[in-house]
Amino acid sequence: MDFFEDPEDVVKSEFIAVVLAGFGRELQPLTSNHGDEPCPKALLPIGNKPMIDYILAWLEPSGVTDVLLVCPTSHRRSIADHVRSDASASFPSLRIDLQTYGDPQDSSFGTGSILRTFAHRIDRDFVVLPCDFIPPPSLQLLTVLNKFRMESAASGSILTSTWYEAPSQPDKNAGDEWGPHTPLTSIVWDEKTGSLLQVEIPNSLNRNDEEIELKMSLLSMHPRLKLTNRLQDSNVLVCHRSVLELLQKKRKLESLSKGFLPWLCKINHCRSKKEAYKTLLQPYRKMPTLANALKHSTLNEPNTINYKEEDDGKITTNHGPNTRVGLITHKAGDGIAARMNNLYDYLEVNRRFLEQAAQNQAGPPAKGPLIDSKAQISADSSIGQSTRVEERASVKKSVIGRHCVIGKMTKIVGCVILDHCIIEDGAKLEGCILGGSTKVGAKAELSKCVTQAGFEVDTGGNYRNAKLEISDWTTAGAYDDEESDEDEEFEAESEDD
């Protein structure tokens, strides 16, 4: 009997995807615990589809099959349930391996540390993906992978990052009610070769925010530069496996995007620093490279440096091992990309999703069986399954989750309401984000509020610009004061007095 061996095993797959499902601290109180159950950031829905589905759907056509999904231990069960559920039957070719990293609630586990912890599971080139990036339909992961493949083969570059143009600057007058907006990052990049040259991290300690330092060696290598702060990091990085070794060496760098990437760009044009890492970057000396072939290529840029002998007899040839960071930019005109870093973006992306859905649909959405015929639901809203909407409720520009109950005469404008919420009669909601299982009492008025899952707004309550969190019953008021002292913004707590 001849058992034919699986041909897939002859060649090992080229990339492994590492999806980092973080804690979502910036999205609190949405991501705070609902009772004892956590609400992972990865499962927050955009247009009634969990965030993580978008990333997995993006991975699917790109040819990457192995996925290492990393999440905090407390979120393990919820994410495992989702990944193995029917909803994820739409990713048949992905093999998802779920791993957890232990976390006390507030330890600073940066992305760099996570990669260090799981370095033993990553044995080839890898793609780092955040769980909160919504890729635009016009950008394919294959494009990013191809750019990495080409640069890695041609010039030995070890990392390719993806940056997107944020659609519009946040209005200066936009409220600060939910905390500060993401600060803008300035970067220096070269358009012709598509390389990232320098990343300026805002608010870092030993820097003056009003000046940007450019080294002369950088300018001589790349005479045509662009300096911009309109591009934002998508945290999608395609890396060579030697990046892991560099990370092990630089243990102080916690975060990939805010620590490692700027450091890598910095040492790229400083030859002396690169020499120190030469052995790490070229461990595979025996593997033949394409350098000789490239020298023969007719479109290759010839080396314009005259070979001269140095004083110590060594001949300078190249610029040392290559740590060039490639860059893919995505213009806003080609489609909107977004990262769900904070609450404003979350609201904004949901709104944009509604606009797109409204464009795609010809007429008003089909009404579910539980929706009353007298309810006024505008065409650009999205209502989840099994949600009951009573008569004369008015829903505009909102996303409503599943199994909700919207009472009579309610007005809901520009809101995102997660699953299992109950909104009683006569409530008015404007620009709010309600966590799962929130109860809004009758005739309550909420404007620009975010509630934690399971929160209960009492009848006739009136809240503006607030983050509504469930206070712990057993602790005394002193604890609450402590909390409000820590956070700089105004917080309203519900207390049934």
Partner: protein, 472 residues
């Protein structure tokens, strides 16, 4: 249909009733025309939504150099619908164009906007385009790569299709190095032998590379040699030894037939360069570059004219390389060659491949250069390694060629020119063709410098005897 009929021939009047005649009574050309009309109608209906005008195909088929011509000789134009499907000779084609325009202008309802929309729609659905070079096929990028393709080959395919590695020598070297990777990562499956299975494994990789860019003669010869070696591997040899042996043969092939050959050629060609010479070269050949640099290092003083042409502008890189070394150079574009050719003493050109009849297949424009040199009785020297020799006979540059990519991939225009004013994409009424190679006939060539000697082009066939091999 039939509302405005520029009177062409008497048969025109039968147009409206054509659809009512049975197909048997029409001539073959008339049937073809009807089919085209129906096809264009469908396209127009699809393109302009439901305009309700089912018979409004304003198709002007692209009137390129070669159009699909049927055997029809009569003046039937079918231009009642503005169609000019079967132009037979110039006169009728011109007439049909006029009628087509006339038909468009006087068309009732719909207006010019809808006409243009259906016009474009029909043009875009016509995949055949211009007939010349249509047999080369369209370049299409392969997808994510099936699981069988080794990552080194995937990356190489990307480098090829993106034109980052160009030139016969460079592509062959890159291919051989990628195959070394593949062989080193290869494991023989159960119940199979290395010599048989590795061949099939490699064939899959090769077809991926060919899909990225058509294979060059150098790659073909090298792969043929590699396959010969693989089939000759001893079946009892342990796998690791066999793999190392194969990598060793690849290394020795590169060393012998490319690197060492280049050195010998550079030396022999240097014998043809004397002090005070004015040399001319075209585009960029790695062998010619090495020869010139070596002659300069030996202390000879000469100057070089570098002739270059779009779209690749490879001569610029050669100019950089030679000037850095200190050789006095002059740079000109191909149309200007007539002004300088009289002063040149020798012309050195490289080759993509040599054919058995002595013809040289090289970068497009080389034929012009050698013809000009021949007219002025200037010796034309081709520098070429023996592994570029192909068994085939080629008589013209149309049967085997390659079309270059369109989208400004070579970025040879200065940034100050706005991209919209450049013709980098196909538009209506314009189709861009970039053949990359052309053929220099043997009568224009004086000598071929190979590593086995300097020979006249007509005795290419004797090289394999000189090399002592069965096949080249």
């Amino acid at each position: 249909m039939g509302s405005e009929q520029p009177p062409q021939t008497s048969e025109q009047g039968q147009e409206p009733s054509q659809s009512f005649r049975s197909q048997k009574s029409m001539t073959k050309a008339e049937r073809r025309e009807l089919q085209e009309k129906q096809r264009a109608t469908k396209a127009a209906a699809k393109a302009s939504g439901s305009t309700g005008q089912a018979n409004k195909p304003a198709t002007k088929q692209p009137e390129g150099g070669g159009e699909k011509s049927s055997g029809k000789q009569s003046g039937k134009q079918g231009s009642g619908s503005g169609q000019s499907t079967q132009p037979q000779n110039q006169h009728q084609r011109r007439a049909s164009r006029v009628s087509g325009v006339g038909g468009d202008i006087t068309r009732p309802g719909g207006g010019p906007g809808a006409n243009i929309a259906s016009d474009l729609a029909s043009r875009s659905i016509n995949p055949r385009g211009v007939r010349i070079f249509s047999h080369f096929g369209l370049q299409h990028k392969s997808g994510a790569g099936k699981g069988l393709i080794h990552p080194a080959i995937v990356r190489l395919g990307l480098l090829f299709s993106d034109f980052q590695i160009t030139g016969a020598n460079a592509r062959c070297l890159a291919t051989l190095i990628a195959f070394k990777h593949v062989i080193q990562d290869y494991t023989t499956p159960q119940n199979n032998t290395l010599s048989r299975h590795l061949m099939t494994h490699l064939s899959a990789q090769i077809s991926h590379l060919v899909a990225a860019r058509p294979m060059s003669v150098t790659m073909g010869n090298a792969i043929r040699q590699l396959k010969l070696e693989i089939s000759g591997v001893d079946i009892d040899l342990p796998e690791q030894d066999a793999k190392e042996a194969l990598c060793g043969t690849i290394d020795s092939y590169i060393e012998e037939r490319i690197t060492a050959a280049d050195q010998v050629i550079a030396q022999s060609a240097g014998l043809k360069i004397k002090d005070g010479d004015i040399l001319l070269t075209y585009a960029r050949s790695s062998v010619v570059e090495k020869a010139l640099l070596r002659a300069h290092e030996e202390g000879k003083s000469f100057s070089v004219y570098v002739v270059d042409s779009r779209p690749m502008l490879e001569g610029k890189k050669l100019l950089t390389a030679l000037s850095t070394a200190g050789i006095p150079c002059t740079y000109l574009l191909l149309p200007a060659i007539g002004s300088v050719i009289a002063e040149v003493s020798t012309v050195f050109i490289g080759a993509h491949s040599l054919h058995s009849n002595g013809a040289v297949h090289s970068r497009a424009g080389t034929a012009l250069v050698s013809m000009m040199a021949k007219q002025h009785s200037i010796p034309v020297v081709v520098c070429c390694e023996t592994y570029k020799i192909s068994e085939t006979v080629q008589l013209d540059s149309f049967t085997k060629n390659e079309l270059g990519p369109l989208n400004g991939i070579f970025s040879t225009f200065p940034i100050s020119i706005p991209r919209e004013s450049l013709a980098t994409e196909n538009t209506t009424n314009l189709e861009i063709l970039n053949p990359l190679y052309d053929l220099t006939p043997p009568k224009n060539i004086t000598a071929v410098v190979t590593e086995v000697g300097i020979i006249p082009p007509t005795s290419i066939g004797t090289i394999h005897i000189a090399l002592g091999r069965q096949i080249v």
